[in-house]
């Protein structure tokens, strides 16, 4: 079981060493984007993989976080260490509202209503010019003052550090959630809602918990994005972001903690690599997505666990009731 934990530790330790070895700004930028997308994909995975409902509204939380950080820092002068948590908290509040309204629905209805919420948020960002500056977006989100003297490379390294901390926090919280009673209850709801209800699990409590946790994490990622890119526009609510996140989760393998990391790594590198192909880039990307759905239906991690199941090892998502002992293992 703890293979997953060991892999996570190994990957994060490896990632922590990278800036000591690599001094190339371009590589660091790619690595930062990988971290950013890994946070997003992991937070989406909490809903898609552990609640089993397909949310297309995750950009609502990302965008809320990004706008919160941008507005707080440009208009109220909040520093970075305060805006990112504030972004997470506000996104979590939005998560409570959206979750309360949408989690009663399942299947295609949930998919489309969450998409509607993201679109509503985008239209608000586009039209409420007083607050969000409309389609022009908010430019010049301030960087911490000490980065001005430190130079570009140091700035990249600084953001690399923040992104690493954010991802570590995401993985820690996800791990704690997944391996808690609440996480197991959520999995029970995912596997069979009616059986879960019959043994006294209230689906809404646990699906809500997962959704709000996901919203908190992606809101913080949004706050980070606002400072790193230093520009926020209505594009953060665009479906393109959502498509990237979904593709990462499903390619990596939903319902595993390692899957979204691998997905974020693969997709970000694939997108960068395909830059060589210029205009053909997105066409090839579309074909790659189709190919992965057809040939790797459970994602890369699903493929791996399938192999392990076949060779007689237990699956990591086994729902063996073990309520007390494993609470402390994290």
């Amino acid at each position: 079981m703890n293979i997953e934990k060991r892999i996570l530790f190994g990957m994060m330790a490896l990632a922590a060493v990278v800036p000591l070895v690599v001094q190339d700004q371009y590589v660091l930028h790619i690595a930062i984007m990988v971290f950013f997308f890994a946070v997003l994909a992991s937070s989406l995975n909490l809903v898609v993989g552990y609640v089993g409902e397909f949310s297309l509204g995750h950009t609502a939380f990302l965008g809320t976080g990004a706008y919160t950080a941008a507005i707080l820092s440009t208009q109220f002068g909040w520093p970075l260490w305060a805006t990112i948590p504030a972004a997470g908290v506000l996104a979590a509040l939005v998560g409570v509202v959206i979750g309360g309204l949408t989690l009663r629905l399942q299947g295609p209805f949930f998919v489309i209503v969450t998409l509607s919420f993201a679109e509503v948020m985008r239209l608000i960002a586009d039209n409420w010019i007083g607050l969000t500056n409309g389609p022009m977006g908010i430019a010049g989100v301030p960087q911490p003052a000490f980065l001005k003297e430190a130079g570009n490379l140091a700035a990249k390294q600084f953001y690399y550090g923040i992104a690493w901390v954010l991802l570590a926090l995401t993985l820690y919280l996800s791990y704690r959630f997944v391996n808690s009673n609440a996480g197991r209850a959520a999995v029970a709801v995912r596997e069979n809602r009616y059986v879960a209800q019959s043994i006294g699990i209230r689906p809404l409590t646990y699906t809500m918990l997962a959704l709000v946790l996901g919203a908190l994490l992606s809101g913080m990622a949004g706050g980070f994005y606002a400072h790193y890119i230093s520009f926020v526009g209505p594009e953060v609510y665009r479906f393109a972001f959502m498509a990237s996140m979904i593709i990462m989760v499903l390619i990596g393998g939903k319902g595993t903690l390692v899957g979204p990391l691998i997905g974020a790594l693969l997709v970000t590198f694939l997108e960068e690599y395909l830059r060589e192909a210029k205009e053909l880039r997105l066409s090839i990307f579309g074909l790659a997505v189709i190919a992965i759905v057809l040939f790797l239906p459970r994602g890369l991690m699903g493929f791996v666990t399938q192999r392990r199941e076949k060779s007689g090892l237990a699956a990591p998502t086994s729902t063996t009731p073990n309520p007390t002992s494993s609470r402390r293992t994290a």
Partner: protein, 290 residues
Amino acid sequence: MELFLQYLANGLVTGTFYALSALGLTLILGLMRVVNFAHGELYMLGGVMGWWATTRLGLDFFSGLVLVAVVMGAFGWLVDRFLIERIRDQGEEPGILLTIGLSIFLANTALLVVGTAPLKVEAPLSAAPLILGPVVVTKLRIFAVALSAVLIVAAWLVIQKTRLGRAMRATFQDPMAARLVGVRTANVYAATFAMGTVIASLAGMLLGSIYSAQVAIGGLVSIKAFVVVILGGMGSFAGAIAGGLLLGVVEALWGGYVATGWVDIIGFAMVILTLLCRPYGLFSKRAERA
């Protein structure tokens, strides 16, 4: 008050177009349970192909319409048999991911081939205005509404009166039982997807003659069509029409009396309200099943 009638007329015209655009989606979503994110791209392909047939091949509008229907029907059939077939009965996610991949591929390939410029499909009529009492509509729009109505009725007849339609309805009710009584469900699914594709592409061509066909329009069309489908109830034929008309009229009235900037938000607000009050759509009889 005079303006009210004008707004209502505009809304009904747009609503008919919405209904036609959403019809293919509701068939696919209701019958096959595939949330088809490539729907807007199929619509777009219809428009682009219509432009190509009427301006480059020099066909007249109706021959172009037939050509588009045949080509896109075959395309839809092949997409189902080669792609969707393989992920059937695996829940929603693979279908969503597959159609997102397909839509990315179609939109960007079309962009490579024809570019971003708006493409005007040659219309069969002039755009001269027609004055009916207090209401002004162009001839072309009346023609488009009439043609939409014909297409909708034709689709309804196929579903209600033909052998294929009966097989489709049986599969919709219970795929297993339909298989047991000898319906070849694989063919029915492929035919449904082809039919949805044909309707979407014809809508794209028809509206390409009024507005213009654009490569980047797909996402917007998909989202509007989802709104209509949810308002009407998944898989409900009458629901798609009522939902389309409702959306068109409410948008026109809102745009006329309140604010034009926020028009697009209305559809989503209606979807959210609908799902809260009547979660399975305004006209759906479908109930939750374990």
